[in-house]
């Protein structure tokens, strides 16, 4: 029922477009689309609240209703999104998973294989952790501020940090969640700083939370005596790096992430690519590199 010369429509469904990371991802996708206008049509949809899984499911249902050909999705929840993605696949839509990996167990249970295109978060976090460890003494106190506990990438980053800290023999005194947000991370950081006067470093699972940690240090009058590391390399993080307020961050190339996913989907549509995972690059960003 489709004309063969019809351009396919690809829907990019991200988490909150109010979040800088996904905003960058969206812009990257739009830039990619501008260069390949004759190859496909693009639709970008985000949800209001990063944790609002229901709304994201509704988004998938909506684009299914609109008859898109492919869905590239950064799931807000690695389990809850599986059934609807499976439904989309059953309806003949190509589905590609980016950013946050869908849960393997649920995928298996649902009998679905959805290719994941994205970075190895654990590796990225470990890189940052190792860079930090070189500046610390063995046995120094460090703390981790995690992302949302139900996000796969959050868990991976935490594990990456832990891997590096363990390898270097650091003392992880606490690991608490900051739910990805500056506002939530800041009081957690304050408590860590005040409760552990000898704390040497705070490892944050994203840059927004690193901003909260930096503010907490200022609130406590501790200036730059504690290292802060972040993840994502948002614009603000680059300034923080320059001013030496954070030690390093990790760039997983959000702008390219979506393009990778879209290209993967297009290839699958053409039957050129199989539904296998594809790893995208992660890079450590430090002040010297800017």
């Amino acid at each position: 029922h489709k004309h063969p010369d019809d351009k396919p429509t690809v829907a990019l469904i991200v988490k909150s477009l109010a979040n800088e990371f996904f905003k960058t991802m969206e812009e990257g996708a739009r830039a990619h689309h501008d260069q390949h206008q004759d190859e496909y049509d693009l639709k970008v949809i985000g949800i209001k609240n990063e944790t609002d899984v229901t709304q994201q499911i509704e988004c998938v249902e909506l684009v299914m209703a609109q008859g898109v050909d492919a869905i590239v999705i950064a799931p807000a929840d690695s389990k809850a999104l599986v059934p609807v993605c499976k439904r989309a696949m059953d309806a003949g839509i190509v589905v590609v998973n980016i950013d946050n990996k869908l849960d393997a167990d649920v995928l298996r249970e649902k009998n679905a294989t959805i290719p994941f295109v994205g970075p190895d978060n654990r590796k990225g976090a470990a890189m940052a952790g190792t860079y930090l460890a070189d500046r610390l003494q063995r046995g120094d106190e460090v703390a981790i501020i995690e992302g949302a506990p139900n996000a796969f990438n959050g868990i991976q980053r935490k594990q990456g940090f832990e891997d590096a800290m363990q390898a270097a023999g650091m003392n992880v005194v606490s690991s608490q969640t900051g739910y990805w947000e500056t506002d939530k991370a800041q009081p957690v950081a304050s408590a860590l700083i005040n409760g552990h006067p000898d704390l040497k470093a705070i490892l944050c699972a994203n840059d927004s939370m690193a901003l909260g940690a930096v503010a907490a240090l200022r609130d406590a009058g501790k200036g730059r005596s504690v290292y802060v590391i972040g993840f994502d390399n948002i614009a603000a993080a680059q300034r923080l790096l320059k001013e030496g307020r954070i030690l390093c961050t990790v760039d997983q190339h959000a702008d390219k992430l979506a393009s990778f996913g879209i290209e993967h989907a297009l290839q699958m549509l053409k039957g050129e690519a199989a539904g296998v995972d594809q790893e995208t690059p992660v890079d450590l960003i430090t002040a010297e590199m800017l």
């Binding site: 609002d52 229901t54 809850a80 599986v82």
Partner: protein
Amino acid sequence: MAGDYLGMVVALLALVIVFSLSAKNFFTATTFRTIANQIPDTTIVAVGMTFVLIIAGIDLSVSSVLALAGAVLGIVLVNWGWPLPLAIVVCLVVGLVCGAVNGLVVVRWRLPSFIVTLGMLEAARGAAYRVTQSRTIYVGGPLEAITDTTILGLSLPLIGAILIVVVGQLVLSRTVFGRYLIAIGTNEEAVRLSGIDPRPYKVAVFLLCSSLAAVAAVIRAARMSSANPNAAIGFELEVIAAVVIGGTSLMGGRGSVVRSFFGVLIIAVLGAGLAQIGAQEHTKRLISGCVIVLAVILDQYRRRVRNA
């Protein structure tokens, strides 16, 4: 009676027409099917909220109670391996308990329900994180049967929601219970002086609202095949907005369940339409903010015209 709903039907049709003209593929069966699948849980909670607002109360805790009840449902099904009907009962009991706490604290210490349910908003969310260790619980199969069952093309949840709306409206406008609620919302002191103890009625309303939130939790979990402790954050304001768009007064004493249902429909169509025309996040926010206020302004005019 019919005139009561006319304004809302017109508003709804206007929205559908605008989006049908501006968004490709909006006016399709799939879109309406999607919307029909999405509204049952909001509708059910909106019925409960209508009752709460009518007694001049407010229930901010519905979102957290929903999350907690859903989380418990997930735990009972997956970790304890109980059968679905029993798990649903446990889930409803969770709703009942939360409602009972809200209601009893409100009447026992004569506290504003805003603050009591704000406390519950925090506490129930905390409990939801506690029972799930902050993780989403995938349930899958058994639960999905609920949403997959259809009768005459309508899904079980939708039928349930419509039934709850109809019964709710009848209870409100035709029963002694309903009239007492309106009376309590209008002038609680006068009700007390009429020799009617308003307290059991108030407790009943909070019980009802939280239980309906638990019912919505089952539906939502079924739709998502999973229970998420982060579910429905901010949902309470969305529900209140829908109910108020439906003309229920925040000051109590006035409201209609059917009109709340239209409020839910308006918000759902607006959300779906804005998403489908590809509006950006900030535009969506701006527009939905304005629509909420406009809808209430229109309702004011309608009421004034009718009274004159």
